[in-house]
């Protein structure tokens, strides 16, 4: 079957791939581009494990078609650290023990960064509601919320 030729930019690098119409961006990232840092927890947009940024907008990559990525700029967990320099959120997640199994962590980090870019000084309630689309079954969320608030403080230089 003939496939769509898609030209996109992922974590700043130009990337081209072929995909069928029904292939999701998540499938393309994981199966074809071998970028497995983006996780699949449900495939229906209910868990947030597959969160990525598309043209600066936080989305579930399981609810985006691969072909829609054409001409777009995509950011995934693989592009979050600057070389060996972890993003503040990544560091705070480690310091606060904000992950247990870690499967939800890439999605939480991408979503939390999107929040702090819009709102550098969120309240605990704002963090909880922004992250409501990211499920974590291990932590009860305490330490994730603490880590995000701590990262916000550090990024504000507060």
């Amino acid at each position: 079957m003939s496939k769509h030729h898609v030209s996109t930019v992922i974590n700043g690098d130009p990337v081209e791939f072929l995909c069928e119409t029904q292939q999701t961006l998540l499938n393309v990232l994981r199966d074809d581009l071998h970028m497995t840092g983006t996780k699949e927890g449900c495939g229906t947009g209910d868990c947030g494990a597959c969160s990525v940024m598309v043209d600066g907008r936080l989305v579930c990559s399981c609810l985006v078609l691969g072909v829609e990525a054409n001409g777009k700029s995509i950011q995934t967990i693989e592009g979050m650290a600057d070389g060996q320099q972890l993003h503040v959120l990544q560091r705070k997640f480690l310091e606060h023990a904000a992950l247990q199994c870690g499967i939800c962590t890439p999605g939480f980090l991408i979503a939390a960064r999107a929040l702090l870019e819009r709102n550098p000084d969120p309240t605990e309630e704002q963090v909880r509601f922004w992250l409501a689309g990211n499920l974590c079954r291990c932590t009860g969320y305490n330490k994730i919320i603490e880590a995000v608030l701590a990262a916000a403080r550090e990024m504000r230089g507060a």
Binding site: T21, Q22, T24, G48, R57, L58, C60, V64, V67, G133
Partner: protein, 301 residues
């Protein structure tokens, strides 16, 4: 959503993907399609239906390249916004959010932040779920949908689009391109409240949208009340509106409103709530929604 009885082969046959640049081109593609053709705006319902096999389109039409469908603009003092505008764009449009806070309430309850970054009011309306969060607010606001089809363009009130779960009144080749919200009268306020077991990430068990206008004495001169998830599609409830009009939206009016809302509800038992629960909560929410709308009309927040 017609369930395709004959599974064999359809997965393997390729699905056409089109990106028309005008509403007329999109309509022509819909009109010319042999099998099922689906409009893709946010895709937050369509992709799930395709994954589950509930929807097997032979063509997917991505309308996000069409300016009318993705823009928000002022038109004769009112707002016109594209059917494919993501909910988050409206939420982040401060002027719009200030004018139509109830519509924004609805947008803010659609899925998660991730889902709202894609999901559109047009998709929410045309997916025709009885529980769609933006619909009662849009109905209460008196939103008019602009529909383009083979016979040209027509305007219809939002409440006339859904026919029942997953079914619309749109004809072959028609698509909703934009919505118009009329100029706001002074001392007007709207609100949408829904009930869900969780605080987020849920489908409305009951939803209520109310839009009202007060005169300079604080008497309600205009009201529209809409209920979601209590019937096969979102309801307009004139009796509930009548309970408010001519009153200062006081306790007596709110009690009448609640009774009228509960009386209008004709829900079913399903996995998300019981009939009895929905009927009672419809009244409870109507009362709570009216109070928020009233405060917004009075400029109290």
């Amino acid at each position: 959503m017609e369930l395709d009885k004959n599974d064999q082969g359809c997965e393997m046959s390729e699905i056409r993907f089109e990106t028309p640049q005008t509403v007329e081109a999109a309509s022509a593609l819909l009109a010319g399609s042999q099998g099922l053709a689906k409009i893709l705006s946010g895709g937050t319902d369509l992709l799930i239906q395709m994954r589950s096999g509930m929807s097997k389109p032979e063509m997917v039409i991505d309308v996000k390249g069409i300016n009318e469908m993705t823009s928000v603009k002022i038109e004769n003092g009112g707002y016109r916004f594209g059917a494919a505008v993501p909910c988050m764009h409206l939420v982040e449009n401060k002027a719009f959010a200030k004018t139509w806070p109830g519509v924004i309430d609805g947008c803010n309850w659609v899925g998660s932040v991730q889902v709202r970054g894609r999901a559109s009011v047009g998709g929410n309306v045309c997916n025709a779920s009885p529980a769609a969060d933006t619909v009662p607010a849009m109905i209460a606001a008196g939103a008019i949908a602009s529909v383009v089809g083979p016979k040209g363009r027509r305007d219809i009130p939002v409440e006339q689009i859904a026919a029942g779960p997953g079914k619309t009144t749109l004809e072959k080749g028609e698509l909703v391109t934009s919505f118009y919200l009329p100029e706001r009268a002074p001392r007007s306020g709207d609100a949408y409240i829904r009930f869900t077991p969780r605080s987020e990430m849920d489908i409305a068990v009951v939803g209520c949208g109310i839009n009202l206008t007060l005169d300079e004495h604080g008497i309600c001169t205009h009201a529209r009340v809409s209920l979601g998830a209590v019937a096969e599609r979102a309801l307009v409830v004139p009796e509930a509106a009548a309970a408010l009009i001519g009153t200062p939206v006081d306790e007596a009016a709110l009690t009448k409103l609640a009774a009228a809302a509960s009386a209008a509800a004709r829900p079913i038992d399903d996995k998300r709530g019981t009939k009895a629960f929905r009927i009672k909560v419809a009244g409870v929410l109507a009362r709570r929604t009216a109070i928020v709308a009233l405060n917004r009309a009075k400029g109290i927040n």
